[in-house]
């Protein structure tokens, strides 16, 4: 019944390009641990980064990699299925394939839409367990990593603001994270046109703008 006619490739083998799913899985298993053989978690990711000679704490390309692999299910890990699908989509064969891919992981190559999706991914991926928010120190580090090459007018002052603010902004939500990107792209450095009362920006952004305007006003005086 399934005989003649078109041949359908099921697991990516045969057909257009010859993709070696076996070696892909083998590579996957290299980074899993005994605790969880079905996903690569933080430890494994660390090992992978070592093999690729990338420092995950400062190099944004690590995140771009996992973004492109599609590790969206749970934060901080990638499942076997995601890995396999991702490797196939990117035609990655073995660790060499990964190494070759590295140059293309620069965020500069992303257009606006893709970057937005990546930016969201960064937050979601960096959460801890079931938490919906991230500690502000971590947020500052992530922002620096992700936005430093994107010519963002507010990056530095916003990070300064977060560092200076107290417990009320200890944890940052996804909504605030995402709004920051949109805000920083729309608003000039001096925040003159920012509409505090009418705009629907999160309270965190309101506070940032007041803070930003505040010292500026006192300087004028």
């Amino acid at each position: 019944m399934w005989g003649s006619g078109k041949k359908k490739s099921k697991s990516g083998g045969g057909g257009k390009s010859s993709f070696d799913s076996a070696s892909c899985t083998a590579l996957f298993n290299k980074y899993t641990t005994e605790d969880d053989p079905f996903a690569i978690s933080m430890e494994g990711i660390g090992d992978l980064c070592d093999d690729l000679d990338l420092d995950p704490t400062v190099d944004v390309r690590v995140l771009v990699l996992f973004f492109k692999l599609g590790a969206t299910a749970k934060p901080g890990e990638i499942s076997q299925g995601e890995w396999n699908r991702g490797c196939e989509a990117l035609s990655l064969e073995g660790i060499e394939g990964f190494k070759k891919l590295i140059p293309s992981l620069d965020t500069g190559f992303m257009d606006h839409d893709e970057f937005r999706k990546f930016y969201k991914f960064v937050f979601q991926f960096s959460r801890e367990g079931t938490n919906k928010t991230i500690e502000k120190d971590m947020v500052v580090a992530l922002l620096q990593m992700v936005l430093c090459d994107r010519n963002n007018a507010h990056l530095n002052s916003f990070c300064e603001f977060l560092n200076k603010s107290g417990e009320e902004n200890e944890r940052i939500s996804l909504d605030a994270w995402q709004s920051f990107l949109a805000f920083s792209l729309e608003t000039s450095e001096g925040c003159e046109e920012y509409d505090m009362d009418g705009g629907a920006w999160p309270v965190l952004i309101d506070e940032y703008v007041s803070w930003k305007r505040g010292p500026a006003d006192t300087k004028k005086k």
């Binding site: 919906k132 928010t133 939500s173 996804l174 909504d175 605030a176 709004s179 949109a182 009362d197 009418g198 705009g199 629907a200 999160p202 309270v203 309101d206």
Partner: protein, 778 residues
């Protein structure tokens, strides 16, 4: 010359009398000079009238009717008849014009005389000389009137025939006045009228200055001006102008002194004076303009100053009379709006003062006094006008709600004190005060804060039996219910219900315990403890922190467990939690030295500590901590109350325990023992738990407020979800507006924003594609 012929017959017999009337052979004619002669007579008569001389005319004793040299008295009737004759013979027109000329002549003389009087007497601008002039004019006018009247009566037929038949003709009287006016106003460039008017104005003004004047003369002269038709143009306008100027300066100089009540009285007086003037001599039509002049020049320019400088003072001192004057005057000039604003500002300022002070006492008493003072003034001075009532209400609301949670806190404490007060006040008086307090309550925008705090205080009153009267409690609740609806008082009423239910439950439990085998009867006898239960529904009563795990003595534990079993059986699915910190105990205290047992009324925690000493040994802090499980701070306070209580010479001591160290402090190393030398006059002794009351109060208050705040956040969430559910998509501004309008309290925009973000996080809604919009997530 008629002759009648009669025909008489000499004989007897019947003869008819015939009358024959024959016309004249020659038609009688008037003498040729009849008109002139008659006129001479009339002319002389007019002269005589004006000269106030007897009516003598030249005699007509010449046969041809010409006038002779002598003079004889002539009657008015004859003169009248002469006029009639002339008119009948169609000589009216000439007669009329001649008469007019005559009047002109005499009037001119009269006025000329006045003019020369002015000249010769050098009548200047001073009042005395002008007064003389006025008197002369008065006399002149009187004479003129009577002369004209006489003339008119003589020439009456002319008035009734010729004048009436000719449309453009003025009556003799009117002609006279007209002529008088002409001369009065034009002779010597009108110096007469000018001086007269000047004199009148000066005279009137001198009266307002306080001098006595000849009112009748003034009245008469003003009437003269009226009848000659020059009152309005020559007099009134000048008079009003002069009055304007003088009132203007008067107003300025008075206000320079800034004595507002005095000023108000003065204005009132001026108005009264003007009323007087009109009554006495001014024409009624001048009244309106004169009053307007006073209002516009004396009062109106200064209303701002009056309100700014005097209003608050007058209100503060409850000067009802002055305020009443102020109100009426302002009403006249249509500036009630300004008064309303000033009133609002005053109320706001006062309330700010009362509430804003950092170290104040009796704020509520002062506010209540203020409120009743306002009411009084409003009633008496402001006529109870509606718009002022609203202005006061708005001002109260605005200023009271500027102080966050302070007003509801103060009101709550006040009501609490009143419901606990037993001495020096009757129930009816308390009711009255509570009623007045409700008026203040109505201004609050954060009524939910009041409710939370009220329940905290109520729970203490109910559980520690501090209310003086249940009726008063119920009264106040019903007031709240009437004002805010049943939903507002539902939890409060729940608390009362619980108290009632608890009585039932206690008695039911006792019955049960007695009846069941091995029941509480045994317990009661064995362990010497009896239970009175209050079962409180958690949702109604103020939330308490989780009580610390206490170690109860076995007797109490047994009771607890027994009741828990009974209750769980009776009401399936309910969970019971014991609140030891709210319970009180009556403990029997017996020493060998006592004649009879004493009863101590203490809190449960105090009792727990005391029971530890039943074994007779002294105990240290640590032992007590371990045995009871009470927190250190709390325990220290309890020990203070038991060991460091009052000692009075006549009553005795409340020191049930003795402390080893001498000072006031409770030291960790202290050892405590039962005070063997305890004595007290009474058999029933209350030992209050003097744990730092203030700190505890503040803690409880904070909790109540927190609870209210939590509630508010829930309300915002609920409103937001409700709105989003029905609209599916909304713009930010619209959503904010809708939420605010649905909430019963004034919500902070930032708070609402935070709740929206929280809802986004919990995925009840999301940000829309378009910036500034939200979508509902089902």
């Amino acid at each position: 010359m008629l002759r009648n012929k009669t025909n008489k017959s000499g004989s007897d017999g019947k003869k008819v009398l015939k009358l024959k009337i024959k016309p004249f052979k020659k038609i009688p004619t008037l003498p040729s000079n009849y008109e002139d002669v008659t006129w001479e007579k009339l002319s002389d008569a007019v002269d005589a009238i004006f000269n106030k001389a007897p009516l003598l005319v030249k005699t007509t004793n010449r046969p041809n009717g010409q006038l002779g040299d002598g003079q004889e008295q002539v009657s008015r009737e004859e003169l009248y008849r002469s006029v009639e004759d002339l008119c009948v013979h169609k000589m009216g027109a000439k007669l009329y014009s001649r008469l007019k000329d005559k009047l002109e002549h005499h009037t001119s003389l009269i006025i000329q005389r006045l003019a020369s009087q002015i000249r010769t007497n050098n009548i200047g601008d001073d009042l005395p000389s002008l007064s003389n002039l006025l008197e002369s004019v008065g006399a002149v006018w009187t004479d003129f009137n009577s002369a004209l009247s006489s003339v008119r009566s003589i020439f009456l037929y002319l008035d009734r025939s010729y004048v009436i038949q000719n449309a453009g003709c003025m009556s003799i009287w009117d002609s006279g006045l007209h002529i008088y006016r002409e001369h009065f106003t034009t002779v010597n460039e009108g110096v007469v009228s000018e001086k007269v008017v000047q004199g009148l104005i000066m005279t009137i003004e001198s009266e307002s200055g306080g001098m006595a004047i000849n009112r009748d003369l003034v009245k008469q002269l003003l009437k003269m001006l009226l009848s000659t038709g020059i009152y309005r143009t020559k007099f009134e306008s000048l008079f009003l102008a002069s009055a304007s100027a003088s009132f203007k300066t008067e107003g300025l100089s008075m206000m320079a002194d800034l004595n507002v009540p005095f000023f108000l009285q003065h204005v009132q007086r001026r108005l009264q004076q003007s009323h007087d003037m009109v009554h006495a001599y001014l024409d009624a039509t001048t009244k309106g303009p004169l009053v307007a002049v006073i209002e516009d020049n004396l009062f109106n320019p200064h209303t701002g100053m009056v309100l700014k400088n005097g209003f608050n003072l007058l209100m503060g001192e409850e000067r009802v009379e002055s305020l009443g004057m102020l109100y009426k005057l302002m009403e006249r000039v249509g500036k009630l709006q300004d008064v309303k604003e000033a009133l609002g500002e005053y109320v706001k300022g006062k309330v700010e003062e009362l509430l804003g002070g950092s170290d104040s006492k009796d704020e509520v008493d002062k506010l209540l006094n203020f409120q009743s003072s306002l009411k009084l003034v409003h009633q008496k001075a402001f006529d109870g006008i509606e718009i002022f009532k609203y202005a006061v209400k708005d001002a109260f609301e605005e200023s009271m709600n500027n102080h966050g949670n302070k007003p509801p806190m103060l009101l709550c404490k006040f009501v609490d004190a009143k419901l606990k007060q037993s001495k020096g006040i009757t129930e009816a008086q308390v009711e009255k005060v509570l009623n007045e307090t409700m008026s203040l309550f109505r201004h609050l925008s954060n009524k939910d804060v009041f409710e939370g705090l009220y329940r905290k205080d109520l729970s203490k009153r109910l559980l520690f039996r501090k209310s003086t009267s249940m009726d008063l409690e119920k009264f106040f609740i019903s007031e709240l219910k009437n004002d805010c609806g049943a939903g507002y008082t539902s939890k409060i009423e729940g608390m009362f219900k619980d108290m009632n239910m608890s009585e039932e439950i206690t008695s039911q439990y006792e019955t049960y315990a007695k009846d069941t085998k091995g029941g509480a009867a045994d317990f009661s006898a064995a362990s010497n403890t009896k239970m009175e239960l209050w079962v409180l529904t958690a949702g109604y009563w103020p939330s308490d922190e989780q009580p610390h795990k206490l170690s109860l003595p076995p007797s109490l534990v047994a009771h607890q467990e027994r009741f828990e079993a009974y209750y769980a059986n009776k009401y399936q699915g309910r969970r019971v939690e014991w609140k030891h910190n709210l319970s009180t105990c009556q403990v029997e205290f017996n020493l060998p030295s006592f004649k009879s047992k004493k009863t101590l009324e203490i809190s449960e925690l105090q009792a727990l500590v005391l029971l530890c000493f039943n074994d007779g040994h002294p105990k240290k802090m640590n032992e007590l901590l371990e045995t009871t499980g009470i927190q250190r701070e709390e325990l220290a306070a309890i020990l203070q109350s038991l060991a460091m209580g009052k000692v009075s010479k006549d009553k005795g001591t409340t020191r049930v325990l003795t402390k080893s160290s001498k000072g006031k402090e409770i030291l960790d190393s202290d050892e405590f023992a039962v005070n063997a030398s305890f004595t007290h006059k009474l058999a029933r002794i209350k030992i209050p738990n003097i744990s730092s009351k203030k700190a505890e109060d503040e803690k409880e208050e904070a909790k109540a407020l927190e609870s209210v705040n939590r509630d508010r956040m829930h309300q915002i969430d609920a409103a937001c979800i409700r709105i989003m559910k029905s609209r599916k998509t909304m713009k930010h501004q619209d959503l904010m507006g809708e939420i605010m309008s649905q909430l019963k309290f004034k919500a902070n925009a930032q708070d609402i924003k935070r709740r929206i973000e929280s809802l986004i996080e919990r995925e009840y809604m999301e940000r829309g594609e378009e910036r500034g919009s939200y979508n509902y997530l089902a």
